[in-house]
């Protein structure tokens, strides 16, 4: 019954706000009206715009390089390097039709989707068991899973390489699909534990009295209420998979099996000075799917990022 305080949370609030904040609970408006406009220019807008420009500039540069014609790329004096008047899609064309890029993109997508689905299933079950079944030792297991979150891939890739080799998974996408969940499960379990805790306990009690099994409760009551959490976990896991590098670099060998980050670093870097255009086009094309996903789910992203830390 320790969950009683949380059970007062409005169901609607749980469903519709992914990042509940308590700041405005007391209806106070803050004191920004006390500061004059010139003062805000110097203390707020100026530093903020400098930081934002620095944070965004590499992407601008990436995009600009990707559409610049070759001769403008390396001649900084004859043409204005910060802009181009005759953009070309030659680099993208080369990327899509004269390299394995579409295949790498497909590999990355395939691995990311499979690993994410596997991890979400495993973490939903684990998080529900830890939060609601509260079996003997649940807290200990929860703590251990948090510790697993803190084990970085950099100290695991060497032994994992030998394990992957033993299991005969070397150089196959399965190697990544099975190893990525070790990064994703701890994270998404903690995130989902936080969401499950906010679901009123009484709902489950009613269902139990009506004769529902635990499985039915999970599928028909808990999961529909935890959809924002599931979306957060899903897109965050997907991003982590897409971003993963060291396992993909170690476990995959043949060019056609590689994921985008590894392939770009290994296959595109051959010392040709005119490679910059297609290199940047490749980097841009590899980032776009994530940025588009992000644009649609900003709030879920933020709640995923902050949720796992807050817990």
């Amino acid at each position: 019954m320790t969950d009683l305080p949380t059970s007062r949370i409005d169901l609607k609030a749980v469903l519709h706000s992914s990042a509940p904040t308590v700041a405005k609970d007391d209806h106070s408006e803050g004191m920004s009206y006390l500061h004059s406009v010139p003062r805000r220019m110097v203390t707020l807008y100026l530093p903020l715009s400098i930081i934002v420009v620095i944070l965004i500039f590499p992407f601008y540069w990436m995009g600009l390089t990707a559409i610049k014609p070759d001769e403008q790329l390396l001649d900084l004096d004859k043409y204005n390097p910060f802009w181009t008047w005759n953009p070309t899609f030659k680099h993208f064309y080369k990327l899509l039709f004269e390299s394995h890029y579409p295949m790498w993109l497909w590999n990355t997508m395939y691995v990311a989707v499979c690993a994410t689905i596997l991890s979400i299933i495993a973490s939903v079950l684990a998080a529900y068991a830890i939060v609601r079944l509260r079996y003997k030792g649940a807290n200990l297991v929860g703590g251990l899973i948090f510790l697993a979150y803190l084990v970085p891939p950099s100290i695991l890739f060497i032994p994992l390489a030998t394990v992957v080799f033993q299991y005969g998974l070397f150089d196959s996408p399965m190697a990544l699909i099975l190893t990525y969940p070790t990064i994703l499960i701890p994270f998404s379990t903690w995130l989902l534990m936080g969401y499950f805790k906010t679901i009123p306990f009484e709902l489950e009690e009613c269902a139990l009295i009506d004769g529902a099994s635990r499985w039915q409760i999970l599928i028909k009551i808990v999961l529909p209420l935890a959809i924002p959490g599931l979306i957060s976990a899903f897109i965050f896991c997907f991003t982590l998979c897409w971003n993963e590098f060291i396992y993909a670099l170690t476990f995959l060998q043949s060019t056609s099996n590689k994921t985008v980050p590894v392939a770009i670093v290994n296959e595109f870097v051959d010392g040709d000075i005119y490679r910059w255009g297609s290199l940047m086009a490749g980097a841009l094309a590899g980032s776009l799917p994530l940025v588009i996903l992000y644009a649609f789910f900003v709030e879920h992203y933020v709640s995923a990022m902050t949720g796992a830390v807050k817990e």
Binding site: T2, D3, T21, V22, A23, K24, S28, E29, M31, S32, R40, I51, V52, L55, I56, P58, F59, W61, M62, L76, A122, S123, A129, Y135, K136, A138, V141, A148, P152, P153, S154, I155, L156, I158, P159, L160, A161, T162, V163, T179, T182, T189, F245, I246, T250, V260, P261, M280, A283, L284, G286, S287, V291, Y294, A295, V298, V302, M305, T306, V309
Partner: protein, 319 residues
């Protein structure tokens, strides 16, 4: 008589005995176990076992394609006398401390800025997070191009402004290379720190600041005595994560410098990759990777105490 004698006994046994199958289906502990199985299988086979195996490998002379024999602490003794290993330890510590400290400073500042009321607030927040979304390797490539020795846009701009006459050899000079990778790491890490701290800031009630203003507090006093104390727990956790991931960083370095020039940017993770996978000395690489564990444990202890303190501040232990 016989019926009467048997009937109650049967009734009793029917109530009493839940079959083993029922036990497995309804007992809370067994049910919990079944729910945990998928996650545990992954974590045991691909996390706990390799973690142990890694430590074991560091005591063997395993190479790629050859099962090794136990050699005791030979790998560690070898590393003890290896100047490159110590250089990588130095680099890792330098990289971690400098990058984390600056990330914290700029991240907190950015969080405070973003917490103000202003137009296009939501859009600005979304923009700020983009470096965190884009795969590290791909943005590292953009930095590689920005820091190019001949066609760097930074060198060009500085030359146009008349500040320098020669191109700066960003990734070819040891000091510059270190500055560049640290800069790229800070660039990648600031959004994470800023957005998580911002989430913490939003839980601070504005009425506290109003009360402090009425009492005549300056902006610095408000930060020092309201914002900072309330933010401490989340700062502890965020910085632990930040330190942990900076310390074990691999991809940024690998994409930008691969440890060069003359090992000036080799971190422990990149060195272990080079020794284990490229040179094939799995045992030695595992020893370098295992040498990171004490540092990680220290960071985790900090995180743990941070979390404890958080519960203490909340006044109750919510489960």
């Amino acid at each position: 008589m016989a019926d009467i004698a048997i009937a109650p006994r049967r009734a009793k046994t029917e109530i009493r005995e839940a079959s083993a199958w029922d036990q497995l289906k309804h007992n809370r502990n067994w049910l919990g176990f079944w729910f945990m199985v998928p996650a545990l299988v992954f974590l045991i086979f691909f996390l706990a076992y390799p973690l142990g195996l890694g430590i074991w490998l560091s005591f063997t002379d395993t190479r790629i394609g050859r099962v090794g024999a136990f050699v005791g602490t030979e790998n560690y003794e070898w590393l003890w006398d290896d100047a490159i290993f110590w250089l990588s330890v130095f680099n890792t510590l330098l990289y971690t401390f400098v990058a984390s400290a600056i990330k914290f400073g700029i991240g907190l500042y950015l969080a405070l800025l973003l917490n103000e009321n202003m137009p296009f607030k939501a859009m600005l927040r979304a923009l700020v997070l983009i470096p965190f979304i884009v795969p590290t390797v791909l943005s590292a490539l953009a930095f590689w191009w920005i820091f190019d020795s001949q066609f760097s846009i930074i060198s060009w701009s500085l030359k146009q402004m008349g500040l320098i006459t020669e191109n700066i050899n960003f990734l070819g000079d040891t000091t510059w290379a270190r500055i560049c990778v640290i800069f790229a790491n800070i660039w990648r890490g600031v959004p994470f720190v800023a957005i998580t701290l911002l989430a913490g800031l939003q839980t601070v009630s504005p009425s506290l600041y109003e009360a402090a203003t009425l009492d005549g507090a300056t902006r610095w006093q408000m930060f020092r005595h309201i914002t900072y104390p309330l933010l401490t727990p989340i700062i502890a956790v965020v910085m632990t994560f930040s330190v942990l991931f900076t310390f074990t960083d691999f991809q940024l370095i690998w994409a930008m410098t691969r440890g060069g020039p003359v090992n000036a940017t080799h971190l422990m993770a990149t060195l272990s990759y080079q020794r284990a996978i490229i040179a094939g000395q799995l045992g030695e690489g595992a020893a370098i990777a295992s040498a990171m564990i004490p540092f990680l444990l220290a960071a985790i202890m900090v995180s743990w105490f941070g979390l404890q303190r958080r519960k203490w501040q909340q006044g109750e232990s919510n489960d």
